[in-house]
């Protein structure tokens, strides 16, 4: 097992700074994910770690050893690419043996190792198939087996499931997590899909415009997004912008005055009275309430239902509060009853308001 650390990685592509001072750490046996939108620099960061490209600034360390100047074949990493990279002129067995041979594994061991890794990805019996005879999912499994065979210290995944259909993608992400747990390898996974990242990661690095925006466990990121980008990229948020006023009526209680409504907030940290703030409220944290329930919530507001839409496992209700649209996601058994609320006046209640860093 090996730890990975990058220190202030910078990579320019002509006049574009693709990676802008990325500091990242993956501990021994940890599964971390770099999550971000297309073009945010996450794949470039992964390629810098693999040694496929060299940084303009910064360093990469494996177990404290500086590997910045080592070529990829000297780093002992396994890299699973977005596009299946099985060599089309070699059978499955020969594809897997390629890495074994390149890493100097004795030929007498090849057969056993090929069998082992194919078993691990549930692809026994496919040794003699050519890559063109495999489906997308099978090819990606073989790709993972091929990468595992030479026993790399670190496994790097560059959006390996993005070209696979939804059902298989769902299955394979659990497979990858299972393989990580069975092998105990340090893995760094790149994706733009937050569900994928949440399912498999120990920690997630959220990346935007070449920079790391926030690091944390999936739960941390979801419940305490620290920037507007993280709050909008991970899940859905209602954003409010206003002036923080410390009321003094109750310890630790403040109000965000938006001009449209007042939002009470606890735990506003070290922010001074009168500061301009942006805060987020998750749609699933807001409830449509009956008059008797008003006392149960810190914030109670009145508005008119603009529309209520069935979105599969929830009903999305848009409520107009003095011109501000607040999104609410209803998940309970009674959610379908909200579908007929369009035009009605309702009361909404919620507690959690999270102030974001600007």
């Amino acid at each position: 097992m090996t730890s990975v650390e990058t220190v202030h990685l910078v990579k320019w592509y002509e006049s574009t700074k693709a990676v802008d001072g990325v500091d990242l750490t993956a501990r021994d046996g940890e599964f971390i994910t770099i999550l971000g939108p297309s073009g945010c620099g996450k794949s470039t960061t992964l390629r810098l770690i693999a040694g496929l490209i060299t940084p303009d600034e910064g360093e990469v360390f494996f177990d404290g050893r500086n590997v910045t100047d080592l070529p990829p074949n000297k780093r002992n990493v396994g890299f699973v690419f977005q596009r299946v990279a099985l060599f089309p002129h070699m059978s499955v067995a020969k594809n897997i043996a390629f890495g074994l041979r390149a890493r100097g594994v004795p030929k007498s061991e090849h057969r056993r190792r090929i069998k082992e890794v194919l078993q691990l990805v549930h692809m026994e019996g496919f040794e003699d198939r050519m890559p063109s005879q495999l489906s997308g999912g099978q090819a990606q499994r073989v790709e993972i087996a091929r990468v595992l065979a030479p026993e790399p210290d670190i496994l790097l995944f560059d959006e390996p499931l993005s070209n696979i259909d939804a059902k298989l993608r769902d299955e394979l992400k659990y497979e990858i997590r299972r393989i990580q747990k069975e092998t105990g390898k340090t893995m760094i996974y790149v994706t733009h899909d937050q569900t994928e990242a949440f399912t498999i990661s120990d920690r997630i690095y959220v990346m935007n415009n070449g920079r790391i925006e926030q690091v944390g466990t999936p739960l941390d990121l979801y419940t305490n997004p620290s920037t507007p980008f993280v709050a909008s990229f991970i899940g859905t948020s209602n954003f409010i912008r206003g002036k923080l006023r410390i009321t003094g009526h109750e310890k630790g209680l403040a109000v965000i005055e938006t001009g449209v409504a007042e939002f009470k907030i606890k735990d506003y940290g070290a922010i001074n009275d009168g500061a301009e703030v942006v805060a987020s409220i998750r749609p699933e944290d807001i409830k449509i309430i009956r008059p008797a329930e008003e006392t149960q919530y810190l914030n109670v507001l009145t508005g008119t239902v603009e529309d209520a839409i069935f979105i599969g496992n929830a009903v999305r209700i848009n409520v107009n509060i003095n011109g501000m649209i607040v999104k609410i996601d209803a998940y309970g058994d009674d959610r379908f009853s909200f579908l007929g609320l369009k035009g009605s006046e309702v009361k909404i209640g919620f507690d959690r308001v999270t102030i974001l860093n600007l």
């Binding site: 074949n73 990493v77 890299f79 690419f81 596009r83 990279a85 060599f87 390629f98 990468v147």
Partner: protein, 269 residues
């Protein structure tokens, strides 16, 4: 019923078109063979191979020379072109666009002008490599564009992910190139190899210009000389068919040795 007969007619027309195209290509070759083996005696036609017995020893020697020059030209061009094409595609360097423009531009220079340039450069300016190796050097230079450009196209079409995957699995640059990249660009390289093989075997204009300074004569030049002195007689047609047969054999041999992996589906494999 009507639909079926229309489909049959459409298929028939397609088939007829293909036969017509193939006939156009094969007709000159068939007529040459006819001239070589069909003899008319008092109004009766018969087949005879006497024309082949009349071919001189000197012609066969020159077939050997032509074949040697072609094979060496192919080997040199492939050895030089493949690394050059790889470097041109993979790396960015100042003047890359100018080099590519120049390489493409050479295609449009008339053969006689290019042949003359080679003769002037090699033998009258540098005054070296006379004789057999001079011929090979000039041919290699002249035909290198064919292997270089087809290799460039092949490398451009190759997804860099294969090389990256090989490198990440522990392969050095050379291993990745030899075991992964080269087999994958095979079809493109094969196209260039076949072009150089056949064209250098049958090249006439450059050979005519080179024969003076190098004192080397090739089989196509021998056939030309025979046409000038004896006219299109059966033994000259026989020589021409021998050249065709040598070209075809060289192509089939190459495909059998190196091409089977890439050119499955042709009648030759």
């Amino acid at each position: 019923m009507k639909h079926k007969s229309r489909a049959r007619l459409s298929n028939g027309l397609h088939y007829f078109y293909l036969i017509a195209v193939c006939s156009l290509i094969l007709l000159p070759l068939a007529i040459t063979l006819y001239r070589a083996i069909v003899v008319e005696d008092q109004g009766r036609l018969s087949i005879s191979f006497d024309a082949y017995k009349m071919i001189s020893e000197a012609f066969w020697d020159k077939v050997g020379v032509s074949l040697s020059i072609s094979v060496l030209t192919v080997v040199i061009d492939v050895l030089v072109s493949i690394p050059a094409a790889y470097a041109i595609v993979k790396y960015n360097f100042p003047g890359k666009r100018i080099i590519l423009t120049y390489l493409n531009g050479v295609w449009y220079v008339p053969g006689i002008s290019y042949g003359l340039s080679l003769v002037l450069a090699y033998f009258f300016v540098f005054k070296f490599l006379l004789g057999f190796w001079g011929f090979v050097a000039a041919y290699s230079t002249g035909f290198m564009l064919l292997t270089l450009m087809t290799s460039i196209v092949a490398f451009r079409g190759l997804d860099p992910v294969y090389e990256e995957a090989a490198r990440c699995m522990g392969a050095g640059r050379l291993t990745a190139f030899a075991r992964v990249i080269l087999p994958l660009v095979g079809p493109g390289v094969t196209a260039g190899v076949l072009l150089v093989l056949v064209l250098s075997l049958n090249e006439f204009i450059t050979a005519l210009l080179l024969t003076g300074p190098t004192r080397i004569s090739t089989a196509p030049l021998h056939v030309f000389a025979d046409i000038r002195h004896a006219g299109i007689r059966p033994f000259v047609a026989a020589e021409a068919t021998v050249l065709q047969l040598v070209s075809l054999t060289a192509v089939v041999a190459y495909l059998k040795l190196f091409g089977s992996r890439y050119l499955r589906g042709t009648i030759l494999i």
